[in-house]
């Protein structure tokens, strides 16, 4: 039984993984991530890639909404900006490791513009302003044929690194996971800095934050820029992943999907982002797997069970919100607390 952590230096106190147990778990998880394409089938690798992209995008939204308290309903459109920028540059022969940050920067620029109203409005009003951005950007995606390919969309060449063409899921998997690792690490560290803490202060009480000397306008725009940067990189990865992109990929439904992911996972936490994105991406697959198993014995049950699956998924989200409003991350923390004192009662 572990009863406490003894920290003998500032470096130890500042480290992200403070105990040997945490480091062991993280090492095991890192090994699993590295070996996953060899362990799992192509289908599981596909799901892992999709989850990785969702995690990055949801992290961006969690920075804006969960940490800085600025609601955004235009997150999918920011992904679209990143994706189309990447597609445009990739077709001009720019390597993927430059395309992805460029896509993020383009998205961050748009994010700053969309974030400008956040100084004057907040709450539902800001939601409507970002919703307008979603529709305006969708209109641009559909109409700007020369850049986006219009409604027919664009095809991307595969990512390539020193002659290594990453045109299969297991190959692009490593790019996605590397990006996810770097960006989650960045987010985790961000909230140990002045900038990150200013976001939290604004979320908790913007007037008090201003009294404390935080530049509200700058901080809010920075939150939008960072959140959109994450979305842009996720959009670019989505482009390299599917390699055929149409405006239908970046609809309002996807924005709401990410909002649901961070609420279910836990607002204002990195771990909650991962859990929420994984939940939203994988639970429908698990439910469909169950339906498929049942239809082995009752082939005609699919027409009945498939709609039920959607209802079960919706009910699961509602149940989480009712019984655990702090999200999956709080459930995880309870499990951890239980094992801290196990086998003694907590």
């Amino acid at each position: 039984m572990r009863i406490g952590d003894f920290k003998a230096s500032y470096a130890h106190d500042e480290s992200l993984l403070t105990t040997p147990v945490q480091r062991s778990w993280m090492l095991g998880f890192a090994l699993l991530v590295i070996l996953f394409p060899w362990l799992g089938a192509n289908y599981l690798t596909y799901l892992a890639c999709l989850t990785g992209i969702h995690v990055i995008a949801a992290m961006g939204l969690n920075i804006v909404t969960g940490y800085a308290g600025q609601i955004s309903l235009g997150h999918a459109a920011f992904m679209g900006v990143g994706c189309y920028t990447v597609a445009f540059l990739a077709k001009m022969g720019v390597p993927f490791y430059l395309c992805l940050p460029a896509g993020g920067l383009a998205s961050a620029l748009i994010g700053v513009l969309v974030g400008i109203p956040s100084l004057r409005i907040k709450g539902l009003y800001l939601a409507v302003a970002t919703l307008a951005a979603q529709f305006i950007l969708m209109f641009v995606f559909r109409e700007w044929d020369g850049f986006t390919g219009g409604v027919r969309g664009v095809n991307l060449p595969p990512a390539e690194l020193a002659g290594w063409v990453m045109d299969t899921d297991p190959e692009i998997y490593y790019v996605i996971m590397a990006c996810a690792f770097v960006m989650l690490l960045g987010a985790r560290n961000l909230f140990r800095t002045y900038i990150g803490r200013s976001f939290i202060a604004i979320r908790d009480k913007d007037i008090s934050a201003e009294v404390l000397g935080i530049d509200l306008f700058r901080s809010k725009l920075l939150a939008f820029a960072l959140g959109s940067f994450y979305a842009g990189v996720a959009g670019g990865l989505m482009g390299y992943f599917y390699r055929a992109i149409t405006p239908e990929h970046f609809t309002l439904t996807l924005s709401i999907f990410y909002l649901a992911a961070i609420i279910v996972g836990g607002l204002g936490t990195v771990l909650g982002t991962i859990l929420g994105a994984a939940f939203m991406a994988l639970v429908p697959e698990v439910l469909r797997g169950i339906v498929s198993l049942i239809t082995v014995w009752a082939p005609d049950a699919m027409a009945l069970l498939s709609p039920m699956r959607e209802m079960v998924f919706g009910a699961l989200i509602i149940c989480f919100l009712i019984f655990e409003p702090h999200g999956l991350v709080e459930m995880w923390r309870r499990v951890r607390r239980f094992f801290h004192l196990w086998p003694f009662k907590t």
Partner: protein
């Protein structure tokens, strides 16, 4: 031990072939032939997806019962709901491809077809199809392993325009208005339709874009009233806002205007749902309706099997017919490849598909089918009779170039 050794040899051979860049054949070279699908059984396209899934499933069952499968091998139909979501459709695709490597796969949408085309081209093992009739998918060069069991949306508009042109009286050509939704689906054929109308000398007097499922269309109706077209072609909708357009225009006294649609707004159930506005609704349909069985032995067989297999169904929909036709094309292609003693690879199936020239569908289409261009560029104009609640032919079968 022998099994293990065989398995290892297989893996080594497969790895070697892949390394050499040779296409792998589908895993169903021996034993059952897998027909895999990700139909949209739920979601916004479920109105058609349920019927498509039934039709494809029933064709496979019928084929096994009546003809012992294909070249002596039974067909196994495996499908999972895509919910009409691209990421889910791709997940089903990846899952079924990894588990079964089927020679043929039926997807759910244009977005799926475009995304899957990248992987299918790389694998070179699988022929694909879906309910999408997007014009840029009928391209044997760019999308070599995809075909559509019907005309592209552009071809559908050509058929409509051919019919409209044939209705010209004297030297007066009818005028046309195009009303379409602001979606990829809606915009797909518009430029091609305008170009063809110009070729035929038909004047497109109005062009209106709406949101899919719009409710308030009074401003758009006012524009149509001013333009006074003889024909209004709707595309990119299933139902709304078509009935509202028709109702308001008829109330405005425009009883001479004829309203027309394309495939997804042409099922009997859709026309019935239009209510009074459905009377006289016309459009293009690449297949016979299930009540039209004259000179169509396959339609009789299909109806009988549907009746036996699914007695709860009162009317076999055009979606079911589409699924049945897709199944029969899959089977024909596979049979031709197997009979030629060739492996079931993408290139071989593509060649077999493009060899389907003057192929008899048994009456599902009124003209012999030609799939050289990866589409069936034929169709017929039907008109809805609200009293009989049936679509009746308004023209002969039309083939477009």
């Amino acid at each position: 031990m022998t099994t293990r050794r065989h398995a290892l040899k297989g893996v080594a051979a497969a790895t070697g072939l892949t390394a050499m860049g040779l296409p792998l054949t589908s895993w169903s070279q021996a034993g059952d032939l897998v027909v895999a699908a990700a139909p949209p059984i739920t979601g916004v396209f479920a109105f058609a997806g349920v019927g498509l899934n039934m039709g494809l499933n029933d064709y496979c069952e019928w084929r096994n019962e009546a003809r012992g499968g294909i070249a002596g091998r039974r067909i196994r139909y495996i499908s999972e709901d895509s919910a009409y979501k691209m990421d889910q459709a791709m997940a089903v695709f990846k899952k079924l491809m990894a588990a079964h490597r089927p020679p043929v796969f039926y997807g759910d949408s244009t977005a799926w077809a475009k995304a899957a085309a990248v992987e299918v081209s790389q694998l070179g093992t699988t022929l694909t199809c879906s309910p999408s009739f997007a014009s840029d998918l009928a391209d044997p060069e760019k999308v070599p392993y995809y075909f559509m069991a019907g005309p592209t949306y552009a071809s559908m508009c050509y058929i409509l325009l051919e019919y409209i042109n044939s209705q010209a009286k004297g030297g007066n050509k009818p005028t046309v208005a195009l009303v379409y939704s602001d979606t990829e689906f809606g915009r797909d054929p518009i430029e091609a339709a305008k170009a063809r109308a110009k070729q035929l000398g038909l004047n497109v007097v109005q062009e209106i874009i709406t949101k899919p499922g719009s409710v308030d269309v009074s401003a758009e109706v006012a524009r149509l009233r001013r333009a006074r077209p003889d024909y209004v072609i709707f595309h990119g909708y299933v139902l709304a806002p078509i009935p509202e357009f028709i109702r308001q225009m008829r109330e405005a006294g425009m009883t001479g205007t004829q309203f027309m649609g394309t495939i997804w707004s042409m099922d009997k159930s859709t026309a019935e749902a239009m209510g009074p506005a459905g009377e006289g609704w016309m459009g293009v349909m690449p297949y016979r309706y299930s009540h039209d069985v004259k000179d169509a032995p396959t339609m009789v067989t299909m109806n009988q099997f549907a009746q036996k297999r699914r007695p709860e169904i009162k009317y076999v929909s055009t979606f079911y017919t589409h699924g049945w036709l897709v199944g029969s094309i899959f089977a024909e292609v596979i049979e031709r490849v197997l009979k030629a003693n060739r492996p079931l690879t993408g290139p071989n199936m593509k060649a077999a598909l493009e060899g389907l020239s003057d192929w008899d569908s048994g009456g599902i289409s009124g003209l012999p089918i030609n799939l050289k261009g990866h589409q069936i560029a034929t169709g017929r104009i039907y008109r809805f009779d609200a009293n009989a609640k049936l679509f009746e032919p308004a023209s002969g079968w039309i083939r477009t170039s």
